[in-house]
Symmetry: C2
Subunit: 348 residues, 2 copies
DNA sequence: AAATATCATTAAATCGATTTAATGATATTT
DNA sequence: AAATATCATTAAATCGATTTAATGATATTT
């Protein structure tokens, strides 16, 4: 069998129409399921359908998008796709989106407002149908203007207090409050909280949960805020300084998985023993925390539920053209996975 | 405050043309840098440029794509975006692509041939300009047909022996050979190799490197191939059985990061001591291996170099319309990060 | 002075679909 | 029998760009 290289120059609707001696309008109606509505003869419908299947014709989606204004693309903006939290979420969102006939264009914002602004404009330019965004601070106006122009937007991981949108979040404040209380109940007294310097809602809420628990128990907070950087050295260095400076600490709470892994590296390099020298808890639960020895207690976000909620809310907005659903916020619960907890009290 | 919904109805090139009393052809020429070539008056060019900047007009990229046949989108197909190796690569490719004016549509193939086939057809349908693919087995014909139709394709992480394409890979065979030799030189004699059952080139090469080293030293290989599954239990269970069965092992080599982390979990649960009971080496180097205690030796892939090579090769293909560059394959070196190596010999 | 070349710009065709408004044929109502 | 309604299909307009071929005006060559 000879394989002819016939640059098949994809068939267009006109080719189909010509070949069947039918108008392209009719073809279009049939392919878009409007045959009944347009009262097109059953036998003609069959003939068209058969031929289309036979030659494997697929409408050019660019042309379709141009005409209809719909692209079937969802723009997904995470903070950093190489962060396991966002990578996992992205993976789940991707699955659900594809299942519903949507493709994903994604990008990492790095929490950089200017970059995010450009990316939003790029997405707009590409006519994405909907936006899923973990928004950095300072992007309020851009998001508002998206919404004002009728674009479906769902925020996740955090929200923008000044913007009324749909968003999916977890109960950050309670999560850290609860975990901190657990440490306190175990007898830990000098509990530090290490986080990235950020005014994002989720970061502030987590910090507040920690503070609340300490205050409620009359304990003194030790807070270290680190400026985020791509360069891990610049994260580890202040962390190192902080831990060396506060020799009296008996527990450390990490506000994000990234701070957590950097923290573990520092603790390793300092030769500190866990939990004898220091008990550890981290936000987000990943292999690193499970396999550290002894394993680190961690707050696990329900990533499946987050991804599900996000995509469900967005698909809803995409399918109901109506404006009369006011924005909804979904707050999900976390799990606190307690590990290797040799009670401080035991040792006293 | 009343929120006016002023659906600004983006300006089109016709609007610009009408407003300036110039033909849209002229506008198009000017905006596409063909003013000189078309000898359009300097003063007119300035007037148009000024107005365009003022109103922030941007050509509708869908219409542009439809006409030109270029979409400025690159399709990226990884095995699983939630795997840290692929997430990191994706992140770097994304950065470089955006810098060069390309967007990324990505998807996870799960090494599923049928799914990949659908995704390729989806990408084609979306008129992506180029493809970056970590291909599953069985997809040879589809890739060939892409290439035959003149689509730029770059494979990475593995290649397809039956298809002549550009691809970027690492020196898999030497990497495992080298690391295995290291173990042997340290005095380990019963070295197991645990991997996913796969005929992909990189997996076969890694396995071969291990076999070569053992054979060269007259040692007996212990190989366990595990069927890949999304469900970690189904990976850990055979691993567990294997380790329990071969009590005489003194070292284990994990063929991928995923096998490695699952392996660590099993080893933890069995209460085995590293490296006293068992020395460990894994392919891919991630936080988990660095922070396990004692840390696990690992083969680090040069992810920046991989991402760089991939995007460079692809951009090259995109920019040179010419066919007369035959396909190139790039093989990169890995680093072997030796950690916590208390020599077996010391204890003897 | 007629024919040709250059200049600066534009009308019309095109990419490939959807959608609106029109059309001719038959069936039904006045 | 004329007027209207229904049926089945289609011509033409449209989305918003790029590109080809054309145009009228001036400058240069025969």
């Amino acid at each position: 069998m000879i394989l002819l290289k016939q640059h098949v120059k994809k068939l267009s609707i006109v080719d189909i129409a010509n070949h069947l001696n039918v108008s392209k309008t009719t073809i279009s109606f049939i392919l878009n399921g409007r045959a009944q509505e347009k009262r097109i003869g059953k036998e003609l419908v069959d003939r068209v359908q058969k031929f289309v299947d036979e030659v494997g014709y697929k409408p050019n989606s660019l042309a379709k998008s141009l005409r209809t204004g719909k692209s079937n693309i969802i723009g997904l903006m995470v903070e950093d796709i190489s962060n396991p939290f966002f990578a996992s979420i992205a993976r789940l969102i991707e699955d659900r989106a594809y299942k519903n006939g949507y493709k994903i264009i994604y990008c990492s914002t790095d929490n950089d407002t200017e970059k995010t602004r450009e990316l939003i404009s790029m997405f707009r330019d590409r006519h994405v149908d909907g936006y899923i965004i973990a928004p950095p601070e300072g992007i309020e106006d851009d998001i508002s203007s998206l919404i004002k122009d009728g674009m479906p937007v769902v925020l996740f991981d955090r929200h923008l207090p000044k913007v009324s949108t749909d968003f999916v979040e977890i109960d950050n404040l309670f999560s850290t409050y609860n975990a901190t209380m657990h440490l306190i109940q175990q007898g830990y007294k000098n509990i530090a909280y290490i986080t990235f310097a950020s005014n994002q809602t989720q970061m502030q809420a987590r910090l507040q949960g920690y503070k609340d628990a300490l205050e409620e128990n009359g304990l003194k907070p030790f807070i270290q805020e680190i400026v985020f950087s791509q360069n891990e050295e610049l994260i580890m260095s202040p962390l190192n300084t902080f831990l060396k400076k506060h020799k009296n600490l008996d527990a450390v709470f990490f506000g994000t998985n990234h701070v957590g892994t950097c923290g573990l590296k520092v603790i390793n390099s300092l030769g500190l023993k866990v939990p004898d020298d220091l008990a550890l808890v981290s936000f987000d639960d990943y292999d690193v925390f499970k396999l550290f020895s002894p394993p680190v207690s961690a707050i696990a976000q329900p990533i499946e539920a987050i991804a599900d909620s996000v995509i469900t809310v967005l698909l809803n907005k995409l399918n109901t053209s109506s404006q009369h659903i006011s924005s909804q916020s979904i707050i999900l619960k976390t799990d606190f996975n307690i590990r290797g907890s040799s009670k401080k009290a035991d040792k006293a």
